[in-house]
């Protein structure tokens, strides 16, 4: 079996999802070679943002630029870290607190590549990919 060539684009899935991203029943990554590590990261909306309680976050994207920049980032980081397969799913629209807005899956020969890929990918995504979030402040609860 031929080894994966690092010069080729990694098989990857990039998907923008309206609302929360599901955290179960995810399609398996397509791996061209057996991988010893498959890692999944879930980004969850916290109940507060900059010290204020929120009902959730409103995510905005700018298509097709958002998807194009995500794909470019996957390709750059794949070449740098030597991972075999990547899946990126990110929300647009409203995501309530406690729900998932981002899922990153990565497969690599060993865990070190997966961990370093995930860490740098997320850091770079926050600097380079046109995705914005706007907090929706918590609505006061009515006294019973």
């Amino acid at each position: 079996m031929a080894a994966a060539q690092t010069t080729r684009e990694t098989p990857s899935l990039i998907r923008l999802v309206d609302g929360p991203v599901g955290t179960s029943n995810r399609p398996s990554l397509k791996m061209s070679v057996p991988c010893g590590a498959v890692m999944t990261f879930h980004g969850m909306v916290r109940p507060s943002e900059e010290g204020e309680m929120i009902d959730g976050l409103e995510y905005q994207v700018y298509e097709p630029m958002t998807t194009r920049e995500l794909r470019r980032l996957v390709n750059r980081q794949q070449a740098k870290h030597g991972v075999v397969a990547v899946s990126v799913e990110h929300s647009f629209g409203f995501v309530p607190n406690g729900h998932c807005s981002f899922v990153l899956q990565v497969a690599s020969p060993h865990r070190a590549e997966a961990i370093s890929f995930a860490d740098e990918f997320i850091s770079e995504m926050k600097k380079q990919v046109p995705i914005w979030k706007v907090p929706r402040l918590a609505t006061p609860s009515e006294d019973s």
């Binding site: 905005q60 700018y62 981002f102 995504m125």
Partner: protein
Amino acid sequence: MPSEQLEILLFGPQAESVGDHAVRIDGIEFPVAGRDVLQRLETQFPALGPSMAVSRLAVNHEFVDAEHLIVAGDEVALIGLISGG
């Protein structure tokens, strides 16, 4: 040369700060450099000032540098305060 209007798309906190998802700059003579557009944005919309240092322009869905020349019909967006993940 007749002057024209340029629309710049805004997103996220920057859109919130001006209260709209697009702003317009009048008196533009095309082609216009990205640098000039950024300066006009900051002058005309002071609410954008604090975030301009971390903002870039995108023209037709591609990041451009300050020297890029924008022509009539280009789609221009201000990409700043991005916060995915």
